[in-house]
Amino acid sequence: MSDVLLRLERLEVVYHRVITAVQGVSLEVPRSGIVALLGTNGAGKTTTLRAISGFIGLDDARVTEGAIVYGGSRIENRAPHRITAHGIALVPERSKVFENLSVAENLEAVVPRPGADRRRLAESIYELFPALARLRAREAGYLSGGERQMLAIGSALACAPDLLLVDELSQGLAPVIVEELVGRLRRVRAELGTTILLVEQNAHVALDVADYGYVMENGRVVLDGTPERLRAHADIQEFYLGAGGGERRRSYREVKQYRRSRRWYG
């Protein structure tokens, strides 16, 4: 992990000046790597992602401690469109396309980074997602869930990013489509050299595509490692992959013990 593109250093995010959603998260995303951020609802994954993409200011949240270092410069608490200009693009969780605009217009509306070749970008996007080329004139509101996700990824790529942030790739989509999208993300990395930070609840998907994973809980990173290592970890099997013993349910004490052990890792 020599060339680090994005590094979070003990990041802390506070909502409404009182609620701490992310407490001291540190992680590294190597250039041209795919890193997954795992965790259940409310673990602080999305907040972390929004902190990176500059979206948290709109929810009255701020980065109060720590740093977000991207390509050598600090970018915390900047306006979203400035962060996009730095080469970070987000595929958001919900409302990810402009529904009243056609597919082509969705891609056209994007402001790419200065110096990017718009035409070549559009070509490579249509090449990656032939479905989008076919649906060029269709209004985005009438796309299926999978097509929408493709368009969302496509228009994020139209910003010509170095770093693509993907929030909940698999949410609400059929496994077959998720598999296809995962394949596309691999191609994005291979062909465009884009670095990808993926936030997922579905550990199967995340560990399948990533070369490194972080597990978040209660606003902290509690575990990290290569997919092999994470897959082998007993707690991951138990809580994320659903492969545990299964015969008996865990008692409250054991869960508490589990949480305590997580804190040690963090």
Partner: protein, 357 residues
Amino acid sequence: MTVPRASGYFRTRYAEDFALLDTRTRKAWAALFAAALLVYPFLAGPLALDLANQVLLGAVGAVALMLLTGYAGQISLGHAGLLAAGAFTTGILFKEFGAPFWVTLPASALVGAALGLIFGLPSLRLRGLYLAVSTLALHFIVIHLGAEYETKRGFSTGILVDPPSIGGWQLYDARAWYFVLLAAAAATVLFSLNLLRSKTGRAWRAIHGREAVAGALGISVHRAKLSAFVVSSMLTAVAGCLFAYFRGFVSVEAFSLFLTIQYVAMVIIGGMGSILGAVLGTVFVILFPYFIEWLMEAAGLAEELAAVVFAVNYSAFGLVMILFLVFEPQGLVGVWRRIQAWFLMWPFKQKPLAGTK
């Protein structure tokens, strides 16, 4: 309902949560304030008395609008139309039938309630901006009907209304008016405060917060909206009736859109969601033009600007409204609470948390 004091005062019964005046100190202050209001007309000069009368009259309408906008969250830009409806009901009944005030007052209230129902109907389908626009449309329609009456009956300059009389005694004297208006304003304020701590008031606040959630909690959203419109419009029409008698004159020119804006400004400048705010806002808005006039005189510009006084007023008023909207969205009540908090916490510095009220 009220903010607890800083000292070791704790509420021990639920009823105390609903009390209008909870501590002895507050009761004492309220009594003192009431006494001050009662002796005011005997100490004040004619101008001060007239100003007080205008404030009291305005407060009725402002409190009514506060119930609707500040509490139930329904935006209305038809307030002047409702005032006009009350005033014209009074004027027409007086001119056509020579009706005394104990007929015109309830009749105005009734017309107001009926109009409130009509104004409220669009609110069942519309929200926010669209609702504001529909009430604005209703304003123009009410005003048009008034103008139509004036021209058709040949009162193109306006309808003259005699002062109300009981037996042989006429309500004419400014001091007598003061007590009548004080009673009206006090009754409105008490009625509103009472209503707000009832089930209806809670329903209003619930639909203000979020309609869908309020509905899920078993509140009839339609009923709450309509009741807010009806109560508010009724009070407003009563204020319109008083306005007609107080001025002794009814004319559509008095009920322009600017009047609506003035009332909305009272609510905004006073502070949303507070009866005290409505009263403070009224004081501010009514006294503002006099303050500007005084300022112009003090600056020695009174004569130069005499021809354009209204323009100066407009500019200053617009500017003040903008300043409040941008820098003090909680209005005068917000300022008042900060001062209170400052004194409570003194000598410690208190920094209120953002996101709390």
